[in-house]
Symmetry: D2
Subunit: 306 residues, 4 copies
């Protein structure tokens, strides 16, 4: 420990970023009596020449987080919200190009989907929140190139059969019996990175891309006869890589939401894969990246905090 | 205070109930390669001749909560789950009729809905949790008569126009400007009580009743030109009473999920009901009962804890 | 069903209430460089002559929920916040006496506690939120008499021994083995009703009453050798009734937070009450009222929604 | 897009990891009638030679997540839990050294603190959960070197004065007035990395290190006259680097929990920094690393998901 104690004690600033998080913006577009809605949660994070505010408290280079909030609302009016991705691109470009001390902007957006309510009144301005997955995107801009990572969370799916788990390693702490017909359920957290990085490239159709990526991951989940959740995860990612040329990298974090077959024998009953206990904790957690061959991985490995 | 201090200090037991809460049961029914799913969260609460366990700790009259859990799972096999209501009726009847010290059973059930995943594989055993509202029911049985109260929570809806609020009382603390075109949004918590109370009556079709009650409350929300959330609430309840003869009482708890028009004038922009800030707290909370004329109110007034 | 169908379909309004929920107010009192803090979440609920707003949407009798919010903040300045109870009494009295159509006001308050941060700087204006239980109170006033119910939630406690559970009923669904040394843990939700109902009575010292009631329930939990959680619950309530003459009724809702002894025998290890799995769901739920003899029960039986 | 479409479509596996998350273990140590408690939430994540399980579903290299759960409970008995860090080191070493295909193990642990309940009974086996911050640690082992990152979350603190914010950049979207006396409040999420990496080094006293790091960050928060939350953050990190030689890197994520001074002028009242509205969303989010000079940054920049 002597060596350690003699290290210089001087603390220095490392990576830093700041901004206003969770700006909740609802944008209504009126097409006569037919209204359209975009419902976003926008978080702004800026970095650049910010040493002084940490060392001395001088705010001379600091655009207030309150201003970043105002900008979100003003841009919702000025640019509209065609897609969360496009909206984030407008914002990121603005902060980096309009403020000299800001060298990088990252915009994270959650989007909540709404259906229309069927009714017999006039107009189309009544909505029902779907409540299914939350759509996500993250736009990062450093003044020259773009990184766009989109995805989703809280998409809960289940196969009630066509899942097995056997042939695994057994050590002295292994008690799990092999399973040849089990429920496979998970709550999908996924991110995918676009190969659009330059304003000179034609941008993807962000809305179509999202709907199709979601469709493919759902179908891969349903169509894969599963010998392990890892195998299913890989198929979900591979399907997106194969069908969506604008995407180079996919990462999933899949909790194995265990459904345990209840032992009904003490009550003289046979449980023929009919009655399950849906457990909360603990849960298996399976995480992996699927890449387009030759591409680099850039999505952080931990999509959640546990 | 003298009078108070001279009161007898002797503590005595009042109303009490016990059971196992939040038993998560998933029931799969297999019709060849087509599977059907019921996903419930079942809470059992029993009361009766239970003084002794409180006073002395004698468990002679206590059916363990663990046993009530086992019964939930065994009944899912023995009786199946046609509807949450029917399942709760089986359970409540069992506890009251099989255990002499138990005089009343109350079963509360949350139900989570699943859609099918569209895919090109064989079979129909892949599911996607809808994530929309949680369906609720509460069955109470005292050995002679039934009370069934069903409902839902977390059904989030919005009208982007056709809502006004003006003509209200102004006192010295009033600063709110009148509104002639505002967003009206809420997250519906509702309960409705059936007039089925006796085994001799024909029971309602619980599944149809739920779907239709939900449809009517949604349509009333969409079709009501609203001068206050109270007016909308009343219409939602009235519509159910008018269309569903098996229901005598409806109660709603409706948070007014405020969407404030953002002031964009400082930025030289006009906000023509386009850009809103979706606020979290505080929120208006509007609660009321709508009754079939001549019927008694029995649903507790507080459906939530705030 | 014929009888049912012939019932009058006319819907009528039943009990109703409205107001602004979850007004978060922080009140700082400055005594030179020593500051004091009260941190409350205040929910206002008013009822009275409100038929018309439900039937026609006329707001002529409606004091806006926004005004009730303003009143909370204005009263924090005008009256200060000596205690949550006293603050609620000011508010309830104001709404009932100043607005003719309002016949009843109910104020619910959550209070969050803060400790001071020990440090070597000057002044005493740095605080650390304790994070322990949330203190609760509910004040109801109808223009003539008061009801004050205080309490707490989320106070998590554990006895690692001195708890047994045996001698219970066994039926065909019972598999639980008897326990002669188990962990007993719960998260206390409690409410207690004061016998102060009239302005002519001297009001209790609300702060002392709370601290002492909490102390007694904790001590009763720790000092009771428990044969069932019901027995422990009763002792917790009885202790408050015995020591606090201003309280006539206590109700607890106690989840049995199960800690299951892990079976380590497959690994050749003996688990001598050392290693436990802390389970989430399901959980036992034990609820009961303890009354001062001769007093009436008025606290609702369901303190939580499950 | 032609260039993009001609990219090889072949998907390949990237970084992957798996294990059982959120194993809740409570360990009681009995010293006669005095008991000691450790209450942990342990998440295991393993990686290594796992291509095949993703590509073909072969589990030949897969130690089941269920086994990793069993190992957590068995080790709680075999090794006890002196500290979360030491417990994680035992687990990580075991997985990497006992299973050839596993090349890296990461153990994440949350720890919940308990106080003793004061009472007049015998023994010391009654506990009250403190409810304050959650202590965190993450142990990573690759068979040769260690990385230990500890920290905390949900430590909520407030200074009711000695905070200013002015002198910042104003652009066309800036409306915020400068503040010369404001509340500064945050909920601290922090991580700090130890320079212990090798079994040959003497390990830190993990318990003392945690208590002292927490003490220093709290004192820095209280003792810093703040011109910006960034300045306060830097002081919190610097204080740890200066006082704890075993720590080389600190990162904080600090939401600026806004407390807005309520405008009481419409009610004829002056608000002299007494009455505040505690806002939920949006919030400023300030994140930065403080390093011992010359050391490398290794803690990921995003400690939370927004």
């Amino acid at each position: 420990m002597a060596a350690v104690n003699s290290r210089p004690a001087r603390p220095v600033l490392g990576q830093n970023q700041y901004g206003k998080a969770e700006n909740r913006v609802v944008r209504i577009t009126r097409d006569g009596a037919t209204h359209h809605i975009k419902d976003l949660n926008v978080s702004v994070s800026l970095s650049g020449d910010m040493d002084e505010v940490h060392y001395s408290g001088s705010n001379a280079n600091v655009l207030p987080t309150d201003t970043t909030k105002n900008t979100v609302y003003a841009f919702a009016k000025e640019h509209g919200i065609d897609s969360a991705e496009q909206f984030g691109i407008h914002l990121a470009r603005h902060f980096v190009t309009s403020q000299e001390p800001i060298h990088r902007a990252r915009i994270r957006i959650e989007e909540y989907a709404w259906d229309r309510i069927e009714h017999s009144g006039e107009g189309a301005h009544s909505f029902l929140r779907t409540g299914q997955e939350t759509r996500l995107t993250q736009i990062t801009y450093d003044g020259s190139s773009w990184e766009v990572v989109s995805g989703l969370k809280d998409l809960t799916v289940m196969n009630s059969t066509d899942s097995e788990f056997w042939g695994y390693v057994k050590d002295k702490y292994t008690t799990l019996p092999e399973a040849h017909d089990r429920i496979l359920a998970t709550s999908v957290t996924g991110r995918w990175r676009f190969n659009w990085t330059d304003d000179a490239q034609e941008a993807p159709d962000w809305e179509t891309s999202y709907e199709d990526a979601k469709k493919h991951l759902l179908r891969a989940f349903a169509e894969t006869y599963s010998l392990s959740l890892q195998q299913t995860l890989y198929q979900m990612g591979a399907r997106i890589i194969e069908h969506r040329s604008e995407i180079d990298e996919v990462r999933f974090s899949l909790p194995n939401k265990h459904h345990f077959l209840v032992d009904l024998e003490p009550f003289g009953l046979k449980n023929d894969n009919e009655v399950y206990f849906a457990a909360d904790r603990p849960y298996g957690l399976i995480e992996a990246t699927v890449l387009r061959e030759g591409c680099e991985a850039r999505i952080p490995v931990d999509l959640t905090n546990l």
